[in-house]
Symmetry: C2
Subunit: 295 residues, 2 copies
């Protein structure tokens, strides 16, 4: 089987054996935003043509390729949903050289009825479910961080925090940006930001403090970016991990450096964390693909 993790900015393909072993992998900067005129089939031929000619007849895709801007808009299954539900609700896409399907996304609602959507993360969670067990909390940090509750081995519900994207907008497009020249990773400043997020006054007040601490000589410019990062991640973690027992670790899935920051922030908030290693997307594609009736 060929598994494809196709996001907004990158394309990753894997040749996966029957037993789930990854035989070969490749990637290219060919995210869906780079594909003109819906020529997705041509990109698959270009980047995996040798595998297809070699006899691969099954392709499973996940990620933003299933969005409105992708190849075909895939379903958004309502939570709770298990891996079997994902495998049973694939969206076929027209392709001349193999059977090709897109994994569905998921939908949910927060406690106040505001809708939630994910597309791509469901496959990553499917990949790490075996190490989470029947019940647990998973965090996938990033531009739009997802906090996912697993119950009875299924994805029960989830919430999203726009932390990474808010960070970039605030660091690059507000007066705080003047302090962000020549920044470097600064763990102490990050910890100070996380600590500050526990104070009263709210995030909008805390943001201005980044500037006033600088003006007062109490936060050096090179440390400001890490402080802001800690402030935002601290706000996210404090609300998202509310009610999680301290002895139940949060499972982190994502880029290693970012996961390390979340481990620090969670620890400061009294929560244990486990960083899931391994490539969650390809693990998930393999697991879902193993449940599909291809014939």
């Amino acid at each position: 089987m060929i598994g494809v993790d196709w996001g907004t900015s990158s394309f990753r393909a894997f040749r996966i054996a029957e037993d789930g072993a990854v035989l070969e992998r490749r990637q290219a900067p060919r995210g869906i935003l780079s594909v003109a005129d819906g020529a997705f089939a041509a990109v698959v031929h270009e980047l995996t043509g040798d595998w297809l000619r070699d006899g691969e007849g099954r392709i499973l895709l996940s990620g933003m390729i299933g969005s409105r801007q992708g190849w075909r808009e895939s379903k958004a299954l309502p939570c709770p949903a298990g891996i079997d539900d994902l495998a049973g609700a694939l969206t076929p896409v027209p392709f001349d050289a193999a059977r090709a399907f897109i994994v569905p996304g998921l939908s949910a609602q927060d406690g106040q009825g505001t809708p939630e959507f994910m597309r791509g993360e469901e496959t990553q969670i499917a990949g790490v479910l075996p190490s989470i067990g029947a019940n647990g909390l998973v965090c996938l940090p990033g531009s739009h961080s997802k906090w996912v509750r697993v119950a009875r081995g299924r994805i029960a519900d989830f919430t999203t925090h726009m932390t990474g994207e808010a960070f970039a907008a605030l660091a690059d497009h507000t007066i705080l940006g003047r302090m962000m020249q020549g920044s470097r990773e600064d763990e102490d400043a990050f910890d100070r930001g996380v600590s500050r997020s526990a104070d009263p006054g709210g995030l909008l007040h805390h943001l201005f403090g980044v500037r006033t601490l600088g003006l007062a000589g109490r936060l050096a410019d090179p440390a400001a970016r890490s402080y802001l990062s800690g402030l935002l991640i601290g706000h996210e973690v404090r609300t998202a991990a509310t009610g999680v027992p301290a002895d139940r670790p949060v499972h982190l899935v994502g880029e290693a450096a970012l996961c390390r920051l979340y481990v620090r922030a969670l620890a400061a908030c009294g929560h244990a964390a486990v960083v899931e290693t391994g490539d969650a997307a390809v693990l998930g594609l393999a697991r879902i693909g193993g449940l599909v009736t291809w014939s």
Copy 2:
């Protein structure tokens, strides 16, 4: 006396009589950022030269003209401070055609020791103090909204919320911006945003809801900007007005349309509000100038 309200992007000058009456006013897009090589004296000559030739020998300036990027960096008086303290701590600036002074800014600390600064707002507050009385809460909404506690007729302390600038960064530089095309003022959407700010989950989670409500067809693109505005102002008001008795109105000082939004948000949070009309900056310059020993 000539009063000058000189900010980052605009220059406003007033010819003020002994009794505080404004005899003449003019303005120009000559904020301090537009003045090259520190040529502030030349701008004053250019824009008020006729008044100077007419015999005016006193100039009182307030605003960012007293910042590090201005004519001279003025003091930042620690709170609490009264109008007499402001008038007694002016910073002289070298000027050949009149005695010229800059009103000091103010400094404070929030409950956790994070520094606060204002420069220009102290003069606006001086202008509206007579209508506030001995004790009250003043809000000056804007890019960096100030919430100022007045006690015994003096400025007791204040906090800043980076609401306006965060709004611009989020609306213009995140995925939410895609929804903001062709936006118009929408009071219902603003109220929905204010209401949403009371929900649990935190601002970073609520921000993502702007997008998901749109994807779900529950928030139309033209209404998204007002919803986001209500969400942010709601977060600000709920934290800044905490502990204010419902029967004590918040005094709003600022641009009329923005004040109207804050009145709506405060009402939704159970607070009365009074919009201070009149030009607070010139009123303040006149009041402070009246206390200065010019000779």
